[in-house]
Subunit: 189 residues, 2 copies
DNA sequence: GTCTATAAATCGATAGAC
DNA sequence: GTCTATCGATTTATAGAC
């Protein structure tokens, strides 16, 4: 995931700073200083601060959409599908923990792509909900509050970017399996 | 929870706007406009934008600290303590959904109170962790990844402010019990 | 308690030299 | 590809009238 072009380098640097203080509190001068150049030089590679933000967010949102489509089209059990969703989040997040902060906290500062992002997010949530509801019908899952199940899983998976950087020796498959176990079977003996 | 003084009104209004766009993207003019006055008039009641933010965040952080202390000092089982933690989050969040957004997303913009806030948060997490570890020793909880358990519960509870406003007919005790059930016993049949 | 007017600093972005 | 210089807009906050 090393940036190959100068533009990719700007986007990667921005994601680090956006994670620390949020999109609105980071200035073009902050980004430039971090890269050892002047703010005006950034505009030779990108056209606006907005463009940096959309690059970070839309790319991630589309990765989630693509992954969810593959899971939906696989003919697996509901529980297997939920396990794959956990793996999807662990995989995408561990490859871009910085960008995930913008996806979660700065999407509202999108302009041209705001509607597109909101559609991707809504579709994702509806697919997730559908898998849970199917699992209840199948009697794979408890006949309980489906919205609470969805909310709990989504909240945990969306917060992964906060947790993952703290695990130095990151074993993504163990992390995904531990997390699946907690989310699906609970913590009570 | 109706604001009684003009200062409380400013803080309540600010919390609504901070939730929408974040602290840094909201201007004093935005807050004033929402209240039907001019930005300069705000300074007759508060001394800075910073002061508004600390009022929102520190008050909430102290409520969590106070609630956790009471739970720690109660001589209940580990599982009961976890249930009370869920109730604590549902209770505080449902009384101030707007402010919870600042607590979660804008704490890094604190200045004088940043260290104090970080200490309260760290203590809270350590108390939470201790309860889970005790539960594992007691054999009330599974002998599994304690950090994953803590992370999953905390992530879900901290995200409650996003979910609660969407439930119009809010029955807080049913919400807390549904959530406890999902978090403690999982979703698999 | 609210207003108008304004200070002082900082913002995103552009022009043009090298 | 980076620089200096700068524009025009916007920011938090203050001074002083009413």
């Amino acid at each position: 995931m090393k940036p190959k072009t100068r533009k990719e380098e700007i986007i990667k640097t921005s994601a680090i700073l956006f994670k620390e203080k949020g999109f609105s509190a980071v200035t073009m001068r902050d980004i430039a200083k971090f890269m050892g150049i002047k703010a005006a030089s950034l505009y030779n590679h990108i056209s606006s601060k907005q463009e940096i933000l959309s690059n970070i967010i839309i790319s991630l949102a589309e990765q989630f959409t693509y992954g969810m489509d593959k899971i939906q089209n696989s003919h697996k059990s509901s529980i297997d599908k939920l396990n794959y969703i956990v793996e999807l989040h662990v995989s995408i997040t561990s490859n871009n923990t910085d960008g995930m902060a913008s996806l979660n906290n700065d999407w509202m500062h999108l302009k041209d792509e705001l509607e597109y992002y909101l559609k991707l997010r809504l579709d994702y949530e509806e697919n997730f909900r559908h898998i849970i509801e199917q699992g209840i019908k199948n009697e794979e899952l408890k006949n309980a509050n489906a919205e609470a199940m969805l909310f709990s899983m989504l909240s945990t998976l969306r917060s992964l970017y906060i947790w993952i950087p703290n695990k130095d020796d990151l074993n993504t498959s163990k992390l995904a399996s531990d997390l699946s176990h907690v989310l699906l079977t609970g913590i009570i003996k």
